[in-house]
Symmetry: none
Subunit: 265 residues, 2 copies
């Protein structure tokens, strides 16, 4: 496979211009859409259309790539081809549904009503028949995104979870960070989101761009140092000696790595 199966394209709007239609400045960032289709032409086509409209786009050619993209970044919506080699779209959709509530729009070549019914029963949020126009697709996407919570940031959120690492306990239900000795250390929203992104992917190098996507749901600007600052702030609260961090290690030229073993309940 020489071909990049899961890259991001599309730029983040810088506020005023850019975004195809949104005159709502409140939206913190463009939604991140994952296109899963085995035909490259379709991926490229859809990908271009969506980025043109201001969305951030990643692509995947099969189920495995899809899963990887879902772990590596914070996806707001999945465009899923019904017919895929290996696992087909329906089972992927069902699996996706089973463990998250990321909205899914099904794509299919056939216009069968049957497929549509099956798709919706499998938990797809909408259904678009190929060939489709980009205007229609975008309208559907916008509709589904709006319907499914309006707040793309919390699209992941579901059952409260509980993480333990080092001498810390992180409770997503209470949104609290608790130290061994019983003291609750207050975290700002940004610090909390960043810590969750880390705790869910321990012992892996995470690039700044990835962290920005995972924690803030946006893509990096030219010289974006905001993650560094946030890591610095987080270290000050987490580390015994922020000058020599043990928990969040720096990977020179690569990003950061959350090193402790995480007990994930």
């Amino acid at each position: 496979m020489t071909e990049p199966t899961s890259e991001t394209s599309g730029h983040n709007n810088s506020g005023t211009a850019g975004t195809g239609s949104g005159y709502k400045p409140a939206m913190s960032a463009a939604p991140h859409i994952l296109v899963v289709d085995d035909h490259r032409e379709i991926r490229d086509l859809v990908s271009r259309a969506l980025s043109r409209d201001g969305y951030r786009v990643s692509t995947a050619a099969d189920g495995r790539a899809m899963r990887k993209a879902l772990v590596d970044s914070r996806i707001d919506l999945v465009l899923l081809d019904l017919m895929l080699p290996g696992e087909d779209g329906l089972s992927l959709c069902r699996a996706l549904r089973a463990e998250s509530n990321i909205p899914v729009i099904m794509l299919t070549a056939k216009g069968d009503e049957v497929d549509r019914v099956i798709g919706l029963e499998m938990g797809a949020d909408d259904y678009v028949a190929k060939p489709f126009g980009s205007r229609e697709l975008i309208a559907r996407i916008r509709a589904v995104l709006r319907r499914s919570g309006e707040a793309p940031a919390s699209a992941h959120g579901e059952r409260p979870k509980h993480y333990r690492f080092d001498r810390w306990a992180l409770d997503t239900g209470a949104r609290e960070l608790l130290r061994d000795d019983g003291v609750t250390v207050p975290l700002s929203t940004g610090e909390y989101d960043l810590l969750i992104a880390f705790a869910e992917r321990p012992q892996r190098v995470l690039s700044r761009e990835q962290l920005l996507d995972l924690a803030r749901g946006r893509s990096a600007a030219a010289f974006d140092r905001s993650i560094d600052t946030q890591v610095s702030r987080l270290r000050k609260k987490l580390e015994r000696d922020p000058g020599e961090p043990k928990i969040i290690k720096t990977v020179w030229g690569g990003g950061y790595m959350f090193t402790p073993a995480v007990e994930h309940k």
Copy 2:
């Protein structure tokens, strides 16, 4: 956003009128109507007609979306298509009836008298056959809303419920907030409504707009800070240390989150 698929639209300039003459009770805000139909054209059509008439409108394409809308916002009336893929309208209607008394108007393509009878038996409050004119639809809606309690705000209210969280007990029957030690803490109507909205959706980030809809049944104005003030007041009564709230947490740039586990009896 040319296409209002599931946002609220339509303003009500309630304001001054109010006084005296009325069969119309001081309606605080426009009723919020949920349109459930799998055909987009119908959703759009109906949606436009209703917003033009001043209603706030959300839409859903299937049962799942309907349920989501019902949890996410305070719906005053449901327009429900009889024929839906997956679960059909009748079972949805019955389910809806089972756990709330939100009025339902059934839509159906066929003019069968049979359907009508079944629909009404299932608990629908009225029945409109497609194709229908918007004038007729709106007349029916107004009639049903008036009939069903006249006060859209209390459309949800049904069996008294009992919530327990942290060291508090909230009794919707008595409309009282009781602390562990037996002391009853008086809440104003607004504080009470807001607390109910929170207690029914624990461990979820709720935007200010959503809270405004859930607790006050209206949509947000430009720089509406009333929710912040109300949260502040509520915190002063609920929290041990209002300066460092544990129960209602702030999500910077996102809204608020009610963190304690809620025992819901």
